[in-house]
Symmetry: C2
C-alpha cells in the first residue's frame, strides 16, 4: 500500500480556550475503501509525536506507518474490511495547522502567538474532517497514549457519532507525575537560548533542549525490564571499562541518537503546545466525576493497558473501566502482559491484534443488526 | 547540637582509574563522643546531592542535617551511645576535593581536568579519614541511595574494618534505566551554553541546564502516589483553568522552584562526576557474580528498601539479600511499606528508626561479647 497524504482546509475552528483559528488545515491519510453505506470508517488517533502516516508505505519517504503492524489487509484494523483515516493533530508540525504554520495576520509563523489548544480541540478538528468526508458515523476511534485520550474525548464529545472506541495505554486525566515529566521537557526546550521565546523559525532551532526533552520521553516509554534486556550495562566501543567521560554505556549512545534524530523531524513549539494539551486533559473537566461524564455516552469501549507501562499505569485504565461498569456501560478490558512498557502498544501487538480484531468484528455485526 | 565542619588534608590519593589526586581534602562533621576503646564509631554516607551535615544544627547556616530525624540523642543513630561521622564525598562541592577545587598544577579550578572518580574512590578517601581519626574498626557504615552504594563498597573493600553495614534504598549496580536518568541530567547540563566545557567558574554557571537536571531527579525521587497526594492536579494562582502558557499546575511550580534552588548550592561539574561514579558502580566489577564478591565478606548486613521506590526498586535490594543468604551471610532485610518513593529513607522514618536501632544494638552487643 503506497499512501499519499491529503489535505482539507476549513475557514475556521473555534477553540475551547475562546480563540478562533482561521484558516485551519488538516493533513490526513486513508487506506482501504469506504463502503456504500459509509459504515466502515475507523479513525486512528496518533500519540504525541506521531503523525497521520499510520499505515502503508509513504509515497514521499518510503517508510512504513507507525502502526503498520496493526493496520493493513488481514491485520487487526483490516483494510480489506475497513476504511482507515488518520490525521495529524492540531498544534502539530506535520501538515496540520500548528505553531510553525503561517499566521495570516503577520505572514510569519505563529510561534507562541498560536492559541493554546486542548485534546478536545484536536477532536473537534477531526470531527470537521469526518463531516467533510461525508461520514455520518464512525465505526471506531482508536489510538494509544495521547491517541487514547482523543478516543475517549470522541466518546464524550460526540457520543452519537462513534459506535466504539478503543483507548489504549492512556488515562482519563494527566496525573501530577505525567505533568511533571512533560514540564521537564518544556523546561529543557525553554532553557535553550536558541528557543528565543519561540521565535526561532528563521534561525537555528533549540536542538539541544529538544533533544534532552526527547531523551526524558524515551526513558518513560520503556520499562526498567525492557531497558535492561536491550542495553543492560553494555559498554560501547570499548573492550573494558574505560574511566573516561564520554559515552560509556550503550543506553547513553541510544538516548543521544534518538534525541538528535528527533530534532530533525519535530518542531519545538509543537512540543510545548501538545504536551500542554495532554496536561490540561481531564475528561471530567475538573469535576473528577467520571460517572457523570460517561452518563450520556452510548459507545462501546475496549480499554487496553499493559502491565509494565509505568508512564500510563494500568490503574488509570481501570478507573475508566470501573466507572463504565458501574453505570452498566458496554466495556471490555484487557491488561496485557508485556515487558515493553508504554511502547508496548506499538511493538508488542500479537495479543492486542487478536483482541482488537474480535472487538471490531462484533461491533460491525451489532451495527448491521441494528 | 550545634555542629561545625572539620577538615582533614592528605598528601594524595591513588584513584581506581589510575590517576593520583594531590593534595586531597575531606570535609566532615561529627556528633556524639568516641568511647575509650574507639568501638562506637558509625560512618554515615550521604546520597548524591547530600553533604556532611547529616545531623544537628549547622553553626554556619542554622539548618538541621539531612538525616537529623535519624541521628541524635535517643534517635535511631543514638548520639548518646555512638560517635557519628559524615564526610562530603570526593568529587563533590561542599569542601571535599572536587572539580571546583583548585588544581595545584594550574592555580585554577580543575573543572573537567578533574580525574574520573568511582564509588570505590569515595570509600577509599573515607577510609583515610577513619584511619586519621584513629578508629580501627567502624561499628557501622550506613546510608541511603548513593550512600548505600558506599556502605556496600565498605563491606567489600574493607571487610575487616566494619562490623555491620546498613545499605538503604540502593543497588549493587546501576541499571540501564538508572544510567539513562543520570545521562539525561548530564546532557541537560552539557547542552547549556553556559557550561563552556566545564570552564564556567569565573563566569555564570550553567544554571538552566542544572535546574532541568534537578527537575528530572526530583520526579524520580517521588512516587506516582506521593506526587498525586502532594500536588494532584491543583492549579496554581488561578481560580479556574486559565488556558495560558505559564505555570498552570502546582507540580510545575514546585519543580521549577526546586530546580532553581538547587543551582545556588550545587556545582554542575560535580553533578557530572558524581552521576558518572554512580553509573560506573558495579560491586562485582563487571563479573555480575555477587556471590564471589561477597565470599570474603564477614560483615553483618541490614538491607532496607521501600515498596514505592521505583528509582531503586526493591528487587535490587533483594538481589543482594538472596546472594548473602545463599552464602550463609549474616543479613536482615526489610521491604518497608511506604508511599514516599525513593525519598522514603529521608522522610518516612518511623519503622526504619526502630529497625536500625535494634540492629545497631545487637551489633554492638555482639562486638562486646567477641
Amino acid at each position: 500500500m503506497i499512501i499519499e497524504p491529503q489535505c482539507a482546509r476549513f475557514e475556521s475552528i473555534a477553540l475551547e480556550g475562546g480563540a478562533t483559528l482561521s484558516p485551519v488545515e488538516v493533513q490526513y491519510e486513508t487506506c482501504g475503501y469506504l463502503n456504500a453505506d459509509r459504515s466502515n470508517a475507523i479513525l486512528i488517533t496518533h500519540a504525541f509525536t506521531g503523525d497521520a502516516h499510520a499505515a502503508g508505505i509513504s509515497h514521499e519517504t518510503g517508510k512504513p506507518g507507525w502502526w503498520d503492524n496493526m493496520i493493513g489487509p488481514g491485520k487487526a484494523f483490516d483494510t480489506d474490511r475497513y476504511f482507515i483515516i488518520c490525521s495529524n493533530v492540531l498544534g502539530g508540525c506535520q501538515g496540520t495547522t500548528g505553531p510553525s504554520s503561517i499566521n495570516p495576520a503577520t505572514g510569519r509563523p505563529y510561534a507562541m502567538a498560536f492559541p493554546v489548544i486542548t485534546i478536545r480541540d484536536m477532536v473537534r478538528l477531526q470531527k470537521m474532517l469526518i463531516d467533510h468526508l461525508g461520514i455520518e458515523k464512525l465505526l471506531c476511534v482508536s489510538g494509544g497514549s495521547m491517541g487514547g485520550m482523543q478516543a475517549l474525548e470522541w466518546a464524550v464529545s460526540y457520543p452519537d457519532f462513534v459506535r466504539c472506541v478503543i483507548p489504549i495505554a492512556t488515562t482519563w486525566r494527566h496525573s501530577a507525575q505525567q505533568i511533571a515529566f512533560n514540564e521537564v521537557g518544556r523546561q529543557a526546550i525553554m532553557a535553550d537560548p536558541d528557543w528565543c521565546e519561540g521565535e526561532y523559525y528563521d534561525k537555528k532551532p533549540p536542538a539541544r533542549g529538544l533533544a534532552v526533552a526527547r531523551m526524558v520521553g524515551h526513558i518513560t516509554y520503556m520499562s526498567d525490564e525492557s531497558m535492561r534486556e536491550k542495553f543492560g550495562r553494555k559498554l560501547r566501543e570499548k573492550e573494558k571499562f574505560g574511566f573516561d567521560f564520554g559515552i560509556d554505556f550503550e543506553v547513553e549512545s541510544y538516548l543521544r541518537y534518538r534525541g538528535n534524530q528527533f530534532v530533525s523531524r519535530f518542531d519545538a513549539n509543537s512540543y510545548l503546545y501538545i504536551t500542554k494539551a495532554e496536561d490540561y486533559f481531564d475528561l471530567t473537566n475538573g469535576t473528577g466525576k467520571l460517572n457523570e461524564t460517561f452518563r450520556t455516552v452510548d459507545t462501546r469501549f475496549l480499554v487496553i493497558s499493559f502491565t509494565s507501562d509505568w508512564l500510563y499505569p494500568s490503574y488509570q485504565s481501570q478507573d475508566i473501566v470501573r466507572v463504565l461498569r458501574r453505570i452498566n456501560g458496554d466495556v471490555a478490558y484487557c491488561d496485557l502482559q508485556s515487558n515493553y512498557g508504554h511502547d508496548a502498544f506499538l511493538v508488542d501487538i500479537a495479543e492486542q491484534s487478536e483482541i482488537v480484531r474480535g472487538f471490531l468484528d462484533s461491533t460491525a455485526r451489532l451495527a448491521q443488526a441494528a
